[in-house]
Amino acid sequence: MNIRFETLALTTVVIPEGRLDFGAAAGFQRHVEEVLAGAGTAPAAVIIDCNALDYVSSAGLRVFLLATRAAQRAGISFALCALTPAVREVFDLSGFSRIISVHADRATAVAQAPQTPA
């Protein structure tokens, strides 16, 4: 899995590409934890843009659950956006789309992200 990062003002966008399976989960978790910690200052919002994420298994769901909790503790807004149909199905069947914020596209997620520091 490849992971890209973009920064828009106080928002960090994480873009995982490919498959978030058991083999990729630990590395992805480390990257998300680093983003939540921030370089010097923590971001106000973190958005995971899933438009290029083809596959997620329970190992990946676990990372999203832990990251959502960690963000909540740190007062950082955390959301996913642009889920592909296969990933959306996994989120819906597992009930995770009810406990993790999921937006239709990145523009909606960015519009809802706070504009002041956490």
């Binding site: 399976d21 058991f22 083999g23 083809d54 596959y55 298994s57 329970s58 190992a59 769901l61 676990r62 659950l65 832990l66 959502t68 909790r69 909540q72 149909p85 296969a86 199905e89 996994v90 069947l93 597992s94 009930g95 009810r98 406990i99 993790i100």
Partner: protein, 146 residues
């Protein structure tokens, strides 16, 4: 080509080879690619469950996977020679739980049960056998559905 089998040790490093096994079956059988993901996911979940919980410490199990295409659907079976364990006996996660209360584990088998049309466990001799089926609805060209 209606059935294929492969046998791998219970080692997480085998996961990519198993995904390739599903994908090759799919292209050989000329099935819709999107449906392969359901079987890849189910195989990852069931395989990793055996890898993480099925083998007594310090031992490796043999895991045999088969895919079979019939007129009614696709059946995948995963067999291992570990101690008797029925993954379907695990309680499902409470999907109405809040963020803080939601259990971190136990999602995998639950997802498999949600995605497949039928899931069965059997102890066959010294092996655990989990069989998963997804039905396929086909309409032939000359007989339109009523």
């Amino acid at each position: 080509m209606n059935e294929r089998r492969t046998t791998v040790p219970s080692d997480p490093a085998q996961l990519p080879a198993l995904m390739q096994f599903v994908q090759e079956f799919w292209s050989a059988a000329d099935l819709p690619p999107a449906q392969a993901l359901t079987f890849e996911l189910a195989l990852e979940e069931v395989f990793m469950n055996v890898v993480m919980h099925g083998a007594p410490a310090g031992t490796a199990l043999r895991i045999e996977v088969s895919l079979r295409l019939t007129d009614s659907g696709l059946t995948m079976s995963v067999e291992d020679d570990g101690p008797e364990f029925n993954p379907l006996s695990l309680p499902p996660p409470d999907i109405s739980a809040s963020l803080g209360e939601r259990a971190v584990g136990g999602q995998g088998v639950f997802l498999v049960r949600q995605m497949m049309d039928a899931v069965n466990y059997q102890r066959v001799g010294v092996r655990n056998q989990l069989t998963m089926t997804k039905y396929i609805i086909r309409f032939s060209g000359d007989r339109l559905p009523a």
